[in-house]
Chain length 221, copies 2
Protein backbone atom coordinates (compact mmCIF):
# COMPACT_ATOMS: atom_id res chain seq x y z
CA UNK A 1 0.00 0.00 0.00
CA UNK A 2 1.21 3.47 -0.94
CA UNK A 3 1.36 5.86 2.05
CA UNK A 4 3.38 8.70 0.56
CA UNK A 5 4.01 10.34 -2.80
CA UNK A 6 7.30 12.05 -3.78
CA UNK A 7 7.14 14.05 -6.98
CA UNK A 8 9.84 15.38 -9.23
CA UNK A 9 9.21 19.03 -10.14
CA UNK A 10 10.93 20.04 -13.40
CA UNK A 11 9.28 18.34 -16.35
CA UNK A 12 6.84 16.49 -14.08
CA UNK A 13 4.79 19.22 -12.36
CA UNK A 14 6.22 22.15 -14.32
CA UNK A 15 6.83 22.35 -18.05
CA UNK A 16 10.54 23.11 -18.54
CA UNK A 17 9.91 23.63 -22.24
CA UNK A 18 7.57 26.52 -21.43
CA UNK A 19 10.74 28.64 -21.36
CA UNK A 20 10.83 28.21 -25.14
CA UNK A 21 8.62 31.25 -25.73
CA UNK A 22 10.91 33.50 -23.68
CA UNK A 23 13.95 32.07 -25.48
CA UNK A 24 12.26 32.88 -28.78
CA UNK A 25 11.52 36.44 -27.65
CA UNK A 26 15.13 36.99 -26.59
CA UNK A 27 16.66 35.23 -29.61
CA UNK A 28 14.15 35.17 -32.50
CA UNK A 29 14.39 31.99 -34.56
CA UNK A 30 16.36 30.10 -31.90
CA UNK A 31 13.75 29.43 -29.18
CA UNK A 32 13.40 25.70 -29.80
CA UNK A 33 17.13 25.07 -30.14
CA UNK A 34 17.97 27.06 -27.00
CA UNK A 35 15.35 25.41 -24.80
CA UNK A 36 16.33 21.88 -25.87
CA UNK A 37 20.10 22.27 -25.56
CA UNK A 38 19.69 24.27 -22.33
CA UNK A 39 17.73 21.45 -20.71
CA UNK A 40 20.18 18.79 -21.94
CA UNK A 41 23.22 20.68 -20.63
CA UNK A 42 21.49 21.46 -17.32
CA UNK A 43 21.07 17.74 -16.70
CA UNK A 44 24.56 16.83 -17.95
CA UNK A 45 26.12 19.41 -15.64
CA UNK A 46 24.13 18.13 -12.66
CA UNK A 47 25.40 14.59 -13.31
CA UNK A 48 28.98 15.58 -14.09
CA UNK A 49 29.38 17.92 -11.10
CA UNK A 50 28.09 15.22 -8.77
CA UNK A 51 30.57 12.71 -10.23
CA UNK A 52 33.38 15.29 -10.00
CA UNK A 53 32.55 16.07 -6.33
CA UNK A 54 32.11 19.71 -7.42
CA UNK A 55 28.58 20.45 -6.33
CA UNK A 56 27.00 23.81 -7.09
CA UNK A 57 23.29 24.62 -6.73
CA UNK A 58 20.86 23.73 -9.52
CA UNK A 59 20.34 27.45 -10.10
CA UNK A 60 24.07 27.87 -10.67
CA UNK A 61 24.18 24.80 -12.94
CA UNK A 62 21.15 26.05 -14.88
CA UNK A 63 22.82 29.40 -15.56
CA UNK A 64 26.08 27.68 -16.58
CA UNK A 65 24.08 25.48 -18.95
CA UNK A 66 22.43 28.55 -20.48
CA UNK A 67 25.77 30.25 -21.03
CA UNK A 68 27.17 27.15 -22.72
CA UNK A 69 24.05 26.82 -24.87
CA UNK A 70 24.28 30.38 -26.15
CA UNK A 71 27.99 29.91 -26.92
CA UNK A 72 27.43 26.63 -28.79
CA UNK A 73 24.62 28.18 -30.82
CA UNK A 74 26.76 31.23 -31.59
CA UNK A 75 24.42 33.66 -29.82
CA UNK A 76 25.59 36.72 -27.87
CA UNK A 77 25.50 36.20 -24.08
CA UNK A 78 23.85 39.51 -23.24
CA UNK A 79 23.61 39.75 -19.41
CA UNK A 80 20.12 41.26 -19.46
CA UNK A 81 18.83 38.44 -21.62
CA UNK A 82 20.47 35.83 -19.39
CA UNK A 83 18.81 37.34 -16.35
CA UNK A 84 15.43 37.34 -18.09
CA UNK A 85 15.76 33.73 -19.22
CA UNK A 86 16.88 32.58 -15.78
CA UNK A 87 13.87 34.37 -14.27
CA UNK A 88 11.63 32.23 -16.48
CA UNK A 89 12.55 29.28 -14.24
CA UNK A 90 10.62 31.01 -11.46
CA UNK A 91 7.57 31.27 -13.71
CA UNK A 92 7.36 27.89 -15.40
CA UNK A 93 3.92 26.72 -16.44
CA UNK A 94 2.34 24.04 -14.27
CA UNK A 95 0.75 21.12 -16.11
CA UNK A 96 -3.06 21.47 -16.06
CA UNK A 97 -3.93 18.21 -14.27
CA UNK A 98 -1.56 18.59 -11.31
CA UNK A 99 -3.91 19.96 -8.64
CA UNK A 100 -6.74 17.53 -9.43
CA UNK A 101 -4.27 14.63 -9.37
CA UNK A 102 -2.82 15.63 -6.00
CA UNK A 103 -6.34 15.83 -4.57
CA UNK A 104 -7.06 12.35 -5.96
CA UNK A 105 -4.16 10.96 -3.87
CA UNK A 106 -6.24 11.92 -0.83
CA UNK A 107 -4.68 12.11 2.63
CA UNK A 108 -1.44 10.35 1.69
CA UNK A 109 1.62 12.48 2.46
CA UNK A 110 2.93 14.37 -0.57
CA UNK A 111 6.26 16.06 -1.18
CA UNK A 112 8.24 17.52 -4.03
CA UNK A 113 11.68 15.91 -4.34
CA UNK A 114 13.69 18.04 -6.74
CA UNK A 115 17.22 18.84 -7.87
CA UNK A 116 16.28 22.51 -7.56
CA UNK A 117 17.55 24.41 -4.54
CA UNK A 118 14.83 25.85 -2.30
CA UNK A 119 15.57 29.41 -3.46
CA UNK A 120 14.42 28.46 -6.95
CA UNK A 121 11.67 25.90 -6.28
CA UNK A 122 9.81 27.58 -3.41
CA UNK A 123 8.89 30.80 -5.28
CA UNK A 124 7.53 28.67 -8.12
CA UNK A 125 5.52 26.47 -5.75
CA UNK A 126 4.06 29.52 -4.00
CA UNK A 127 3.28 31.34 -7.25
CA UNK A 128 1.33 28.32 -8.51
CA UNK A 129 -0.25 27.80 -5.06
CA UNK A 130 0.90 24.21 -5.00
CA UNK A 131 2.06 24.59 -1.38
CA UNK A 132 -1.59 24.15 -0.32
CA UNK A 133 -1.50 20.59 -1.60
CA UNK A 134 1.94 19.50 -0.36
CA UNK A 135 3.35 18.43 3.01
CA UNK A 136 6.97 19.23 2.13
CA UNK A 137 9.30 20.54 -0.52
CA UNK A 138 12.59 18.61 -0.43
CA UNK A 139 15.70 19.60 -2.35
CA UNK A 140 18.76 17.58 -3.39
CA UNK A 141 20.67 20.68 -2.26
CA UNK A 142 20.56 19.29 1.29
CA UNK A 143 22.72 16.35 0.19
CA UNK A 144 25.27 18.29 -1.88
CA UNK A 145 24.57 16.01 -4.83
CA UNK A 146 21.98 15.51 -7.55
CA UNK A 147 19.79 12.66 -8.76
CA UNK A 148 20.43 9.80 -9.52
CA UNK A 149 22.50 9.52 -6.29
CA UNK A 150 20.63 7.28 -3.82
CA UNK A 151 21.10 9.82 -0.98
CA UNK A 152 18.81 12.24 -2.82
CA UNK A 153 15.97 9.70 -2.94
CA UNK A 154 16.68 8.76 0.70
CA UNK A 155 15.72 12.33 1.69
CA UNK A 156 12.04 11.58 1.01
CA UNK A 157 12.15 8.46 3.18
CA UNK A 158 13.81 10.32 6.05
CA UNK A 159 11.67 13.43 5.92
CA UNK A 160 8.27 11.82 5.35
CA UNK A 161 9.06 8.94 7.72
CA UNK A 162 7.71 6.36 5.28
CA UNK A 163 9.63 3.25 4.15
CA UNK A 164 10.66 3.32 0.50
CA UNK A 165 8.53 0.29 -0.35
CA UNK A 166 5.44 2.27 0.68
CA UNK A 167 6.40 5.39 -1.28
CA UNK A 168 5.35 6.21 -4.82
CA UNK A 169 7.92 8.29 -6.69
CA UNK A 170 6.66 10.19 -9.71
CA UNK A 171 8.70 11.63 -12.56
CA UNK A 172 8.36 12.39 -16.25
CA UNK A 173 12.12 11.99 -16.71
CA UNK A 174 13.11 8.47 -17.75
CA UNK A 175 16.56 8.74 -16.11
CA UNK A 176 14.95 9.88 -12.82
CA UNK A 177 12.49 6.99 -13.01
CA UNK A 178 15.45 4.59 -13.35
CA UNK A 179 17.31 6.18 -10.43
CA UNK A 180 14.27 6.03 -8.16
CA UNK A 181 13.45 2.45 -9.11
CA UNK A 182 17.06 1.35 -8.53
CA UNK A 183 16.81 3.02 -5.12
CA UNK A 184 13.79 0.91 -4.25
CA UNK A 185 10.72 3.16 -4.65
CA UNK A 186 7.53 2.15 -6.36
CA UNK A 187 7.73 4.38 -9.44
CA UNK A 188 5.24 6.04 -11.76
CA UNK A 189 6.53 7.37 -15.07
CA UNK A 190 4.58 10.27 -16.58
CA UNK A 191 5.69 9.63 -20.14
CA UNK A 192 4.58 13.01 -21.45
CA UNK A 193 6.61 12.83 -24.64
CA UNK A 194 5.88 9.22 -25.60
CA UNK A 195 9.52 8.13 -25.31
CA UNK A 196 10.79 4.56 -24.98
CA UNK A 197 11.98 3.58 -21.47
CA UNK A 198 15.65 4.27 -20.70
CA UNK A 199 17.83 1.15 -20.94
CA UNK A 200 19.22 1.31 -17.41
CA UNK A 201 18.23 -2.13 -16.18
CA UNK A 202 15.03 -1.20 -14.31
CA UNK A 203 11.48 -0.35 -15.34
CA UNK A 204 8.72 1.86 -13.89
CA UNK A 205 5.87 0.14 -12.07
CA UNK A 206 3.32 2.39 -13.77
CA UNK A 207 3.64 4.14 -17.12
CA UNK A 208 0.99 6.75 -17.86
CA UNK A 209 0.56 9.84 -20.01
CA UNK A 210 -0.37 12.29 -17.26
CA UNK A 211 -0.43 12.65 -13.48
CA UNK A 212 -4.20 12.26 -13.07
CA UNK A 213 -4.12 8.91 -14.85
CA UNK A 214 -1.42 7.77 -12.42
CA UNK A 215 -3.39 8.94 -9.37
CA UNK A 216 -6.45 7.03 -10.56
CA UNK A 217 -4.50 3.85 -11.16
CA UNK A 218 -2.74 3.98 -7.78
CA UNK A 219 -5.79 4.96 -5.74
CA UNK A 220 -7.98 2.31 -7.40
CA UNK A 221 -5.28 -0.39 -7.08
CA UNK B 1 57.63 19.30 -16.40
CA UNK B 2 55.42 16.66 -17.99
CA UNK B 3 56.67 13.11 -17.37
CA UNK B 4 53.66 11.09 -18.45
CA UNK B 5 50.74 11.32 -20.87
CA UNK B 6 47.32 9.76 -20.27
CA UNK B 7 45.04 9.76 -23.27
CA UNK B 8 41.33 9.27 -23.60
CA UNK B 9 40.49 6.82 -26.42
CA UNK B 10 36.96 7.30 -27.78
CA UNK B 11 36.72 10.58 -29.66
CA UNK B 12 40.34 11.46 -28.91
CA UNK B 13 42.40 8.71 -30.59
CA UNK B 14 39.50 6.97 -32.35
CA UNK B 15 36.67 8.60 -34.26
CA UNK B 16 33.41 7.47 -32.62
CA UNK B 17 31.47 9.09 -35.45
CA UNK B 18 33.16 6.74 -37.92
CA UNK B 19 30.36 4.31 -37.00
CA UNK B 20 28.04 6.60 -38.94
CA UNK B 21 28.72 4.83 -42.23
CA UNK B 22 27.82 1.42 -40.76
CA UNK B 23 24.69 2.92 -39.19
CA UNK B 24 23.73 4.29 -42.60
CA UNK B 25 24.28 0.90 -44.24
CA UNK B 26 22.11 -0.84 -41.63
CA UNK B 27 19.43 1.87 -41.54
CA UNK B 28 19.52 3.90 -44.78
CA UNK B 29 18.70 7.57 -44.20
CA UNK B 30 19.26 7.39 -40.42
CA UNK B 31 23.06 7.08 -40.13
CA UNK B 32 23.70 10.57 -38.78
CA UNK B 33 20.79 10.50 -36.33
CA UNK B 34 21.70 7.07 -34.98
CA UNK B 35 25.40 7.83 -34.48
CA UNK B 36 24.71 11.13 -32.66
CA UNK B 37 21.98 9.86 -30.34
CA UNK B 38 23.88 6.62 -29.73
CA UNK B 39 26.97 8.54 -28.55
CA UNK B 40 24.89 10.87 -26.37
CA UNK B 41 23.03 8.02 -24.66
CA UNK B 42 26.25 6.02 -24.23
CA UNK B 43 27.70 8.88 -22.20
CA UNK B 44 24.49 9.57 -20.29
CA UNK B 45 24.20 5.93 -19.28
CA UNK B 46 27.84 5.84 -18.12
CA UNK B 47 27.19 8.87 -15.88
CA UNK B 48 23.80 7.71 -14.60
CA UNK B 49 24.90 4.15 -13.82
CA UNK B 50 27.87 5.46 -11.86
CA UNK B 51 25.60 7.79 -9.88
CA UNK B 52 23.10 4.96 -9.31
CA UNK B 53 25.85 2.58 -8.09
CA UNK B 54 24.77 0.21 -10.86
CA UNK B 55 27.96 -0.25 -12.83
CA UNK B 56 28.00 -2.33 -15.99
CA UNK B 57 30.87 -2.45 -18.52
CA UNK B 58 31.14 0.22 -21.20
CA UNK B 59 30.41 -2.47 -23.80
CA UNK B 60 27.15 -3.27 -22.00
CA UNK B 61 26.29 0.43 -21.68
CA UNK B 62 27.10 1.00 -25.37
CA UNK B 63 24.74 -1.78 -26.46
CA UNK B 64 22.00 -0.49 -24.13
CA UNK B 65 22.47 2.98 -25.64
CA UNK B 66 22.13 1.56 -29.15
CA UNK B 67 18.91 -0.26 -28.25
CA UNK B 68 17.44 2.91 -26.77
CA UNK B 69 18.51 4.92 -29.81
CA UNK B 70 16.82 2.57 -32.26
CA UNK B 71 13.65 2.60 -30.14
CA UNK B 72 13.56 6.41 -29.90
CA UNK B 73 14.09 6.74 -33.64
CA UNK B 74 11.38 4.15 -34.32
CA UNK B 75 13.76 1.69 -36.02
CA UNK B 76 13.49 -2.10 -35.72
CA UNK B 77 16.04 -3.60 -33.30
CA UNK B 78 17.14 -6.46 -35.54
CA UNK B 79 19.65 -8.59 -33.56
CA UNK B 80 21.95 -9.09 -36.54
CA UNK B 81 22.14 -5.35 -37.15
CA UNK B 82 22.82 -4.68 -33.47
CA UNK B 83 25.66 -7.18 -33.52
CA UNK B 84 27.12 -5.59 -36.66
CA UNK B 85 26.89 -2.06 -35.23
CA UNK B 86 28.44 -3.12 -31.92
CA UNK B 87 31.28 -4.77 -33.85
CA UNK B 88 32.03 -1.39 -35.43
CA UNK B 89 33.33 -0.27 -32.02
CA UNK B 90 36.16 -2.77 -32.48
CA UNK B 91 37.01 -1.21 -35.85
CA UNK B 92 36.80 2.52 -35.22
CA UNK B 93 39.00 4.74 -37.39
CA UNK B 94 42.08 6.17 -35.72
CA UNK B 95 42.72 9.88 -36.28
CA UNK B 96 45.55 10.31 -38.82
CA UNK B 97 47.99 12.30 -36.63
CA UNK B 98 47.97 9.98 -33.60
CA UNK B 99 51.13 7.94 -34.21
CA UNK B 100 53.26 10.93 -35.19
CA UNK B 101 52.04 12.83 -32.12
CA UNK B 102 52.83 9.95 -29.75
CA UNK B 103 56.35 9.76 -31.20
CA UNK B 104 56.73 13.51 -30.68
CA UNK B 105 56.13 13.03 -26.93
CA UNK B 106 59.41 11.09 -26.92
CA UNK B 107 60.33 8.81 -24.04
CA UNK B 108 57.67 10.11 -21.66
CA UNK B 109 55.41 7.32 -20.40
CA UNK B 110 52.15 7.03 -22.32
CA UNK B 111 48.91 5.29 -21.46
CA UNK B 112 45.35 5.13 -22.66
CA UNK B 113 42.87 5.92 -19.87
CA UNK B 114 39.43 4.98 -21.10
CA UNK B 115 35.91 4.17 -19.98
CA UNK B 116 36.07 1.16 -22.28
CA UNK B 117 36.61 -2.25 -20.69
CA UNK B 118 39.76 -4.04 -21.83
CA UNK B 119 37.76 -6.56 -23.88
CA UNK B 120 36.63 -3.72 -26.14
CA UNK B 121 39.65 -1.40 -26.16
CA UNK B 122 42.51 -3.90 -26.50
CA UNK B 123 41.38 -5.43 -29.83
CA UNK B 124 41.08 -1.91 -31.25
CA UNK B 125 44.51 -0.89 -29.99
CA UNK B 126 46.09 -4.02 -31.45
CA UNK B 127 44.28 -3.72 -34.78
CA UNK B 128 45.58 -0.15 -35.19
CA UNK B 129 49.03 -1.19 -33.88
CA UNK B 130 48.93 1.54 -31.27
CA UNK B 131 50.21 -0.88 -28.61
CA UNK B 132 53.71 -0.31 -30.04
CA UNK B 133 53.57 3.30 -28.89
CA UNK B 134 51.98 2.87 -25.45
CA UNK B 135 53.23 1.74 -22.05
CA UNK B 136 49.79 0.80 -20.72
CA UNK B 137 46.11 0.59 -21.49
CA UNK B 138 44.08 1.48 -18.39
CA UNK B 139 40.35 1.02 -18.08
CA UNK B 140 37.80 2.61 -15.75
CA UNK B 141 36.43 -0.93 -15.50
CA UNK B 142 39.00 -1.58 -12.75
CA UNK B 143 37.30 0.99 -10.53
CA UNK B 144 33.69 -0.09 -11.16
CA UNK B 145 32.84 3.48 -12.15
CA UNK B 146 33.19 5.83 -15.11
CA UNK B 147 34.67 9.25 -15.71
CA UNK B 148 34.30 11.90 -14.31
CA UNK B 149 34.79 10.04 -10.98
CA UNK B 150 38.20 11.01 -9.52
CA UNK B 151 39.12 7.36 -8.87
CA UNK B 152 39.20 6.75 -12.62
CA UNK B 153 41.79 9.50 -13.15
CA UNK B 154 43.71 8.26 -10.09
CA UNK B 155 44.33 4.97 -11.96
CA UNK B 156 46.82 6.71 -14.27
CA UNK B 157 48.72 8.16 -11.31
CA UNK B 158 48.89 4.79 -9.56
CA UNK B 159 49.78 2.71 -12.57
CA UNK B 160 52.32 5.02 -14.20
CA UNK B 161 53.78 6.04 -10.83
CA UNK B 162 53.81 9.73 -11.76
CA UNK B 163 52.30 12.50 -9.62
CA UNK B 164 49.22 14.13 -11.14
CA UNK B 165 50.92 17.52 -11.42
CA UNK B 166 53.48 15.98 -13.78
CA UNK B 167 50.90 14.19 -15.93
CA UNK B 168 49.32 15.55 -19.09
CA UNK B 169 45.81 14.26 -19.65
CA UNK B 170 44.47 14.49 -23.20
CA UNK B 171 40.87 14.35 -24.33
CA UNK B 172 38.67 15.68 -27.11
CA UNK B 173 35.62 15.48 -24.83
CA UNK B 174 34.93 18.74 -23.01
CA UNK B 175 33.30 16.98 -20.04
CA UNK B 176 36.34 14.65 -19.68
CA UNK B 177 38.66 17.67 -19.84
CA UNK B 178 36.71 19.22 -16.96
CA UNK B 179 36.80 16.02 -14.91
CA UNK B 180 40.55 15.60 -15.39
CA UNK B 181 41.29 19.24 -14.61
CA UNK B 182 39.15 19.12 -11.46
CA UNK B 183 41.13 16.03 -10.45
CA UNK B 184 44.39 17.96 -10.76
CA UNK B 185 45.99 16.91 -14.06
CA UNK B 186 47.53 19.28 -16.55
CA UNK B 187 45.02 18.99 -19.38
CA UNK B 188 45.11 19.30 -23.14
CA UNK B 189 41.81 19.63 -24.97
CA UNK B 190 41.74 18.40 -28.57
CA UNK B 191 38.81 20.52 -29.65
CA UNK B 192 38.12 18.60 -32.86
CA UNK B 193 34.63 19.98 -33.37
CA UNK B 194 35.33 23.63 -32.52
CA UNK B 195 32.99 23.65 -29.51
CA UNK B 196 32.97 26.19 -26.68
CA UNK B 197 34.45 24.97 -23.37
CA UNK B 198 32.04 23.26 -20.98
CA UNK B 199 30.87 25.52 -18.15
CA UNK B 200 31.99 23.29 -15.29
CA UNK B 201 34.20 25.73 -13.41
CA UNK B 202 37.59 24.64 -14.80
CA UNK B 203 39.44 25.17 -18.07
CA UNK B 204 41.99 23.16 -20.09
CA UNK B 205 45.64 24.23 -19.91
CA UNK B 206 46.03 23.75 -23.67
CA UNK B 207 43.34 23.96 -26.32
CA UNK B 208 44.36 22.71 -29.76
CA UNK B 209 42.71 21.33 -32.89
CA UNK B 210 44.64 18.05 -33.11
CA UNK B 211 46.97 15.82 -31.12
CA UNK B 212 50.15 16.69 -33.03
CA UNK B 213 49.65 20.39 -32.29
CA UNK B 214 49.38 19.53 -28.59
CA UNK B 215 52.54 17.39 -28.65
CA UNK B 216 54.48 20.21 -30.26
CA UNK B 217 53.28 22.78 -27.75
CA UNK B 218 54.01 20.58 -24.74
CA UNK B 219 57.40 19.34 -25.94
CA UNK B 220 58.53 22.84 -26.90
CA UNK B 221 57.23 24.37 -23.63
Amino acid sequence: MIEGIALDAYGTLYDVYSVERKCEEAYPGSGVNISRLWRQKQLEYSWLRTLMDRYETFWHVTEDALRYTLAELGLAANEGKIEALMASYLELEMYPEVVEALKRFGRRKKAILTNGNLEMIEPLVRRTELDRHLDACLSADETGSFKTRPDVYQLAVDRLGIAKERMLFVSSNGWDVAGAKAFGFTVGWINRRGLPPEELGVRADYTVSNLLELAERVVDA
